[in-house]
Subunit: 413 residues, 2 copies
């Protein structure tokens, strides 16, 4: 990709409303741009990383038996009346009327839609289990949108819903999703803690949250310093069955950013919305549900928070929008441009390459490159005439001259 | 993928509101499910094909210099006041208020948002051109939603916007997008006609539509039988510059489904919203814009319309959700299941495989397979014991026995 066409509008100064490091940097690096309070455009750099996160999520869901679909954002009031949530939900639920004055809401979550979509079909235990997920734009009219993508009003989520014939099968999916989430966040370069939590407005029997520890997190977590049991409620050190009383750890607290949550919903929706099946014993029973949310856009924010300094960031390997950033000191003169383009075309055969072809001063190019954060950089300077370029590994900070012929080898390491 | 987990709720009868072949079939084949009038869930089979179409679109856009971003669905009224469209747009524009009583609309198109997103940055001709696109859910409150995905209220579109310094550069992008669209639809297995059209509510100087000829199309197209010039207005046969009067063709009409449109917007939005740049001559000028829409969900509908009979469909190669459908006559008995799974695991190494592992009668499995429409099918029947399976090519209708060891070879052809 040539950088002149890859729209990265970097800024010298962060906008005034940006309070935390990740938000400042995401605005300065041309990752996101605010359109209204809590509502953002993902610019090409940000959206490239979003797509990488989505790919990881899809791989980990599909590997464990999930099937992807896409449900609508516009949800009719009728469905929410069936579950009782039209009245329960507060002003966070964005409501609107269509041209015929029928009530709709913009989905913050999809328990009603998915339950309606499967209830005619899961008439027998033979049709269960099902594990359906989507990656979709959600809406929640937050009272105080803040910290950029952390608390937005329009955001991207992965939400999965499982339908089981028994508590035992639900437990299998619940455990499987715990493992999937652990793997997703590991691949995204995030350290997370699994925290026992309240079920809240979604309802249900058991829930856990995946938290990225961060001083800008909005949730307070208590955890045992020895056995690592963690909860979003205060506890006395006697929570984790038989282990905790013996582990003798102290209780500490920290702040966390919630990037995922998993719920044992039970039969709350399948009972109210009649999603029932005939069991092996011939009895009609409500399906036992689980739901599993993962904040895609919030994961992006947490990654920037964990992988950045005030002046720039370096993307984790699996999320880097390009493999290598090629920065020519000058991009002028017919023969020189031809030589640089030749190298660019060669590298493109094996790697995703961003070439800075802009007519800018070197200082501006390098400042932008630090903001863009591609882990490997090739600077084409005066040694290029002797067949050498400067290769930088942004993570270690190491720089060295390499032969033009050896760039692929250097990049493969 | 095991079919028991790939939720394909096929139906014996199409729903009563389905009037046209594609809509009936998409409902019966478990491709889509209606949630409210004009609002659909893309079930796993449908969404798998949607993702294939999106991949093709991304490849053709990226190849020609496009950069992908994602803009919000919620758009503040202020922006639409700037362009003057808040008052101009009718009840098709879905409007709502947030909790602080501020007006928003749900974007049917994104000229305002993209112009706002680039106008601070394109201060010099050096920053141009830009070609930015997104694949996104759009909203339009149609008076009479119908024909399934053809005229929906929530639908998926690719929309690209270009910003140029001159009419000449706009013409380059316009031509490039004409080629990109031709290639996208060819890869999707669709025959399209390029039709000169009105600029309508979007505004601008020149526009073309990409039409799939179909008796269920809602647009009437006139075209010259010899030189192929086509328009959505009636014409006398003297339209295409110097060629048409000489070509001597007659004028015929046909119905078309609009799957894409391209517009030379000119300066309508850049003038009203002050998206200006300093040209080489030091003068301040409004950027010259183009916009290019492609209906992703409508393309899916048009593909089903063109590639189906009343009883089933066969996906075009590039859109097939799986490479091969493995259908065992029986999926029971420990040793047999193990052998079938072994073959499934082997084929998965080279191909995308759907295995029908359901406990259903063979007739039901085959009827579902015809609806699902994967071009290659392997039936595992009684010859399996002798190391043979039945290989069907659904497009030619040919069936033959092949050795289990030769399946990969047969599939590669």
């Amino acid at each position: 990709m040539k950088q002149s066409l890859f729209y990265v509008p970097t800024l010298r100064e962060a906008p005034k409303d940006a309070e935390v490091k990740s938000h400042k940097l995401m605005a300065r690096a041309g990752i996101i741009r605010m359109s209204a309070a809590g509502i953002y455009t993902y610019l090409p750099l940000g959206y490239a990383v979003i797509k990488k996160i989505e790919t990881i999520v899809r791989e980990e869901m599909d590997k464990r038996g999930g099937s992807e679909l896409l449900m609508p954002a516009l949800q009719p009031r009728d469905l929410w009346e069936e579950s009782g949530r039209w009245a329960e939900y507060g002003p966070e639920l964005m409501r609107l009327k269509d041209r015929k004055e029928r009530d709709f809401c913009l989905g913050p979550t999809h328990e009603e839609v998915i339950t309606e979509a499967v209830r005619d079909h899961i008439n027998s235990y033979k049709k269960l289990p099902l594990a359906l997920y989507q990656i979709q734009t959600k809406f929640r009219d937050e009272m105080r949108p803040r910290f950029g993508l952390m608390r937005g009003r329009e955001f991207i989520m992965k939400d999965m819903y499982t339908f089981s014939e028994s508590e035992e099968d639900l437990a299998v999916w619940y455990q499987r999703m715990k493992e999937a989430y652990t793997e997703v966040f590991r691949r995204c370069g995030l350290q997370t803690r699994i925290v026992a939590s309240d079920v809240g407005q979604i309802g249900g029997d058991e829930a856990h949250e995946f938290m990225v520890m961060s001083e800008v997190g909005e949730d307070t977590i208590s955890y045992c310093t020895v056995c690592e049991y963690a909860s979003n409620k205060e506890f006395s050190g006697l929570k984790k069955g038989d282990d905790c009383p013996e582990c003798g750890g102290g209780i500490e607290t920290a702040q966390g950013i919630e990037v995922g949550n998993i719920f044992k919903l039970g039969t709350k929706y399948s009972e109210s919305m009649s999603a029932t099946f005939t069991d092996k014993d011939g009895k009609r029973k409500p399906a036992i549900m689980g739901c599993y949310g993962l904040g895609i856009s919030r994961t992006l924010m947490a990654v920037v928070e964990q992988h950045s300094s005030e002046n720039g960031l370096v993307w984790p390997d699996e999320l880097a929008p390009f493999d290598v950033h090629v920065v020519p000191v000058k991009y002028a003169g017919e023969a020189h441009i031809e030589a640089v383009n030749g190298l660019y075309d060669r590298l493109k055969k094996s790697f995703a390459v961003l070439l800075d072809d802009r007519d800018e001063r070197l200082g501006a190019k390098l400042a932008d490159a630090d903001l863009i954060g591609i882990p490997a950089r090739i600077l084409i300077g005066r040694d290029f005439a002797e067949g050498k370029v400067e290769f930088s590994d942004l993570r270690s900070g190491k720089k060295r001259l390499v032969d033009v012929d050896d760039i692929e080898t250097a990049l493969s390491k």
